[in-house]
Amino acid sequence: MWFVGALAAVLVLGACGTGQVGEDGSDSGAPDQNNKRLALVPGVQNEPFYISMQCGAEAEAKAQGYTVDTQAPQKFDATLQEPIVTGLGADKPAALLVAPTDDVAMTEPLLQVKNLGVKIVEVDTSLQDRSVAVSTITSNNEEGGRLAAKTLAELAGSKSGSVLVLDTIAGTSTTNARAKGFLDELKKYPNLKPAGEAQFTQNEPDQAASKVTAALASTPDLIGIFATNLNTGEGAATGLRNANKTGTVSLVGFDASPSEVDGLRAGDFQALIAQDPATIGKEGVKQAVAALKGEKVTRDIEAPLVAITKDNMAENEKFFYKTEC
């Protein structure tokens, strides 16, 4: 198969150039003060968390005299998000607010957009490379995980047993940190032990449901589940319902989407760790505008977190996520 050899040679030869993409024609000079357009690329479409963030960003932008154009990928997938980021970037907004779907893979395209003179602000998730964005607004996810462990320990009281952690996808910085914080904090409670490593659900409810039913079969002393986001939480609730274990096994979810809030009310969830996406969006716009005007920019901002249980639902209503502004 000489053809195979030829193609192998092509792959290597193709790699022998000396230049780098985007290194010419980059003008990262002073921002155009008349450009009042901002762009927002959330992690995925139709998620109440990102919609609430969009609402917060739009309200703040309006107050400051800017417009926000929002476009989100169909799935939480870097290969789908990349064309959107570079497409919006080609139109040169003044600043781009983005929730990177992969902390490594999104670096190159965002760097390209930055080189066009667009200010990058990370909202919700962030890149490993901290030189790309001017500011990062995110919930302290590790702290959120700790809060979940504390809440679960309170729910368990003096009972002892195993706890399952459902993570989304390897490489998603937010949920990975939540799982880590949870497992760290859990060590402080000797009556609770983790049921193995955190399990990855690929952010699909059906996979979360099947992981839960599998864990119920393999770990009879399961008393708690921590689901690190909306999809895993809904899947876990389904799994528990199918196994007739709703309420017997305490389910702590992350985020406060309408369906999760309903679940909390109905008893499917025992607690929710809510973020404040509206504040994240609002702060994102504030920092972007500050960067554009040459004012002081805060590099890292932590958005607040709150644990909501059935008992304190009423006073925490403002943290519930929205499906439309």
Binding site: G14, V21, K75, F76, P83, I84, T86, P109, I169
Partner: protein, 343 residues
């Protein structure tokens, strides 16, 4: 294009260049692509027709193009390969594992020796799945849809097993800078050059060699091909091996570009590759197809999406538009063929 010649009613009519062009499979779909580019350039003159935009368009379609090139061969034989996206991930995973193992843990500092070993590993990883697919389809006579649906899941599962379900991100910086984000000849991305050269070689293979003729023959009528003395089983196996090989190469390119194995990504690559091939005029029933058509077919959804992004049309419309173009392209093609067959 305007050349129209009056045919005298000879027994064998020799059609003019113009007629042949207008009836060519790829002509109309090329016009659609051109029209899209012109429309979006007119709508967003500052953003769409820019070097940045075309560079991004080319980079973002490079990996899919390599997959679609392999898919073209398979579809011309009347088969289908749903596994390409998973094989891509598997090949990337094997490659990254190999490079990391050779560098004793992290391959970030690795040099060209290790990188070439990684390339070989990726290609071998692709060939393994190509062989599995080809063997089951050609020898065991299991329908391609079922075989590759099986390997679609199995390859992704195997890739996940290799690293306990998590991605590998320790990719050599040299590789990233050379193939992933490097450029040659004054700004043409190396990733795009690689994809273009692979496509050219494949076009040569399909349209000028015996291998290509056999591919068309097998797809057109396997029984006739067999009676004409073509080893249909062996040829089908070779075609699936080639597709696996190209998916492996695409996996290596993806690894260089995204610098992660991307287990969660590439879920719809198989359908995108099939859509591109079909849009480009290759018949799902086999026996008909061109490489040029596939290239155009890869670019139409990409240009549509990019154009809609730039002109701020909601993403939902993109999904509808891409679907409509796909169906319309095939419908027009069918109509045209039918009317030609009638006359």
């Amino acid at each position: 294009m305007t050349a129209t010649t009056v045919e005298d009613g000879g027994a064998i009519q020799r059609r003019s260049l113009g007629t042949r062009l207008v009836t060519a499979n790829t002509f109309w779909i090329a016009l659609v692509l051109l029209a899209l580019i012109i429309i979006f350039s007119a709508l967003a003159p500052d953003a769409f027709p820019t070097v940045f935009n075309f560079q991004r368009l080319a980079i973002e379609t490079a990996v899919l193009l390599v997959l679609a090139v392999g898919m073209t061969f398979v579809i011309i034989t009347g088969g289908i390969d749903l596994s390409v996206g998973s094989v891509l991930i598997f090949a990337g995973m094997v490659s990254a594992k190999t490079m990391n193992a050779l560098s004793g843990g992290s391959a970030i500092e690795a040099g060209w020796g290790v990188i070439i070993a990684g390339l070989v590993a990726a290609v071998l990883g692709g060939l393994v799945w190509g062989f599995v697919n080809g063997f089951l389809i050609a020898k065991a006579k299991v329908p391609p849809l079922i075989v590759t649906l099986g390997s679609f899941g199995a390859a992704l599962g195997a890739a996940s097993l290799l690293n306990n379900g998590s991605d590998i991100r320790t990719v050599p910086t040299t590789l990233k800078r050379a193939l992933g984000s490097g450029t040659s000849f004054g700004g043409i991305p190396n990733l795009v050059i690689t994809a273009a050269v692979i496509t050219l070689i494949a076009a040569w293979l399909l349209h000028t060699t015996r291998f290509g003729r056999y591919t068309f023959a097998v797809g057109s009528n396997p029984e006739a091909a067999r009676r004409a003395g073509i080893g249909v089983t062996a040829h089908l196996l070779k075609v699936y091996l080639l597709t696996g090989f190209l998916a492996g190469a695409a996996g290596f390119m993806s690894l260089a570009y995204y610098s992660t194995t991307g287990i969660a990504a590439h879920a719809t690559d198989n359908l995108n590759a099939i859509a591109a091939v079909v849009m480009g005029g290759t018949s799902l029933f086999g026996g008909v197809g061109t490489m040029v058509g596939t290239v155009i077919g890869v670019f139409i959804p990409a240009v549509l999406k990019k154009g809609f992004n730039i002109t701020h049309v909601q993403d939902y419309w993109q999904m509808i538009a891409v679907g409509a173009v796909l169906v319309a392209a095939v419908w027009f093609d069918q109509q045209r063929r039918r009317s030609r067959n009638r006359s």
